[in-house]
Symmetry: C2
């Protein structure tokens, strides 16, 4: 099933726009997990505990690659597909490379890791995004306005009367989205800018990091980012869920945190 | 030894500004190589054959990752360090992520893969580059003006009177290069723009892909990209060297192609 179909089904049928970000920090994995399989077991428990409240899971590539744990990442995505079919997986790798190389990255994301969607950097332009977007059943979520301190360095530059991130939103909406499978990353820390992007892109899915540990306000985010129909958002929280508990109860604590965040999103969406 | 020291030593002592790009395409690896070790053996032969003419080697991450061959990439970089000490390795991964995640990517590049330098995307701003640049002995080569067709989509946008890529060049030269270990990627396909970047950044190393298979002109590139002292360039060629031969002589053919390119660069630099 396509990323769009899976996502819309979770929004509607599971009544959630919460995306659980999986950014495992080896120093924060509870000590009771078996040392030789701690990374996978930690992620598996988080996934099982939060699946009811997740519209998507978003493993962060670097947190696996820095440890040489690509096989764990493969195993984890495989596990999600098998244990929780219907919940799409967004591989957060933020790749960006020229066409011929982007084809290798698309193959990595969609064939090797079997992700349903991937995050991509727009700096190299249309032909760096096309090899992903050509997979019409997969999602391609392009960085637009990021929530980090340095995000403004380029994204807020005035490009002929509009900041660069709005230009990117327009490019994607008007030119790069021929297959209707593109989305944008827009941080929760700037609700006014999120609202501006929503105006530009219509119903396009927006992946919104920055609530929870990064401090974005849920009510402001939802009111700024939702579509007219009250959906359209993939609101990502990672650390606030992953590390809600520190001991053997970390799964239960993560479930409570995920439900609370899901509910806060839904309460704001009235 | 630092990336800058290694690079300058190769420019001066080995008299070469040619960077051998290692982008192995599994369909173009000669058939006589042992099937269970073909990727590594192909790269090893290329490295040994071209080392005399290389100022750097630049393995392209996606070409390994798409095949799940991270261990081959580790083994290859290890091999280069041992067999050809003094030739720096640039890991071409074009990463770009927010600060906390960028630290994981920096660890991946410099600790896991033991690269001397890495390519990085500027779209997420200063704090996405700093975790790399904080490794003062390593090189951080930031995408500025790329040689692909879509490169102009963002990079050529007018940002307050100058195209975005020039703004990036200025940001890097004036703000992000506190440790003096930054460089820029500027494609060979636009010599006038290469010359403009050189004016902006002084003696900063420029990684210049796009000669050879991508069609950039060597003489125009050298005249546009060199420093006043006649160095400053890491001119990358991949396919024209890797696939110069198709059979058992591919190493010898690669050596001839590398020497010819090195000589063409030096002839143009008079």
């Amino acid at each position: 099933m396509s990323f769009n179909t899976l996502l819309r089904s979770r929004w509607t049928n599971a009544n959630t726009m919460l995306c659980v970000g999986i950014d495992p920090d080896p120093h924060r994995i509870p000590a009771h997990l078996p040392r030789n399989d701690a990374l996978f077991q930690f992620c598996r428990v988080i996934v099982d505990a939060t699946a009811d409240y997740a519209c998507a899971f978003k493993p962060q590539f670097a947190h696996f690659a820095a440890q040489g744990a690509e096989e764990v990442l493969e195993e984890l995505i495989d596990y999600i597909h098998n244990a929780h079919p219907g919940i799409p997986v967004i591989l957060d790798a933020k790749r960006g490379d020229i066409g011929s190389t982007a084809e290798y990255y698309a193959r990595e994301a969609f064939e090797r890791y079997r992700a349903d969607a991937v995050t991509v950097n727009p700096y190299l332009g249309a032909d760096s995004v096309k090899p992903y977007a050509d997979h019409a059943d997969k999602g391609v979520i392009i960085l637009c306005r990021t929530s980090n301190a340095g995000g403004s360095d380029l994204q807020f530059l005035d490009c002929g009367g509009q900041p660069l991130y709005q230009h990117v939103a327009r490019l994607v909406a008007e030119k790069w989205n021929a297959n209707g499978n593109c989305g944008l990353v827009v941080g929760a820390t700037f609700p006014a800018e999120l609202a501006r992007v929503r105006e530009i892109v219509g119903d396009m899915p927006l992946l919104i990091p920055g609530i929870g540990a990064q401090g974005g306000d849920v009510i402001a985010t939802v009111k700024a980012g939702r579509t007219a129909g009250g959906t359209g958002m993939i609101i990502s929280s990672s650390r606030a869920i992953l590390y809600a508990g520190k001991g053997e109860d970390f799964g239960a604590a993560a479930r409570i945190a995920a439900k609370a965040t899901r509910d806060a999103i839904n309460d704001a969406n009235t």
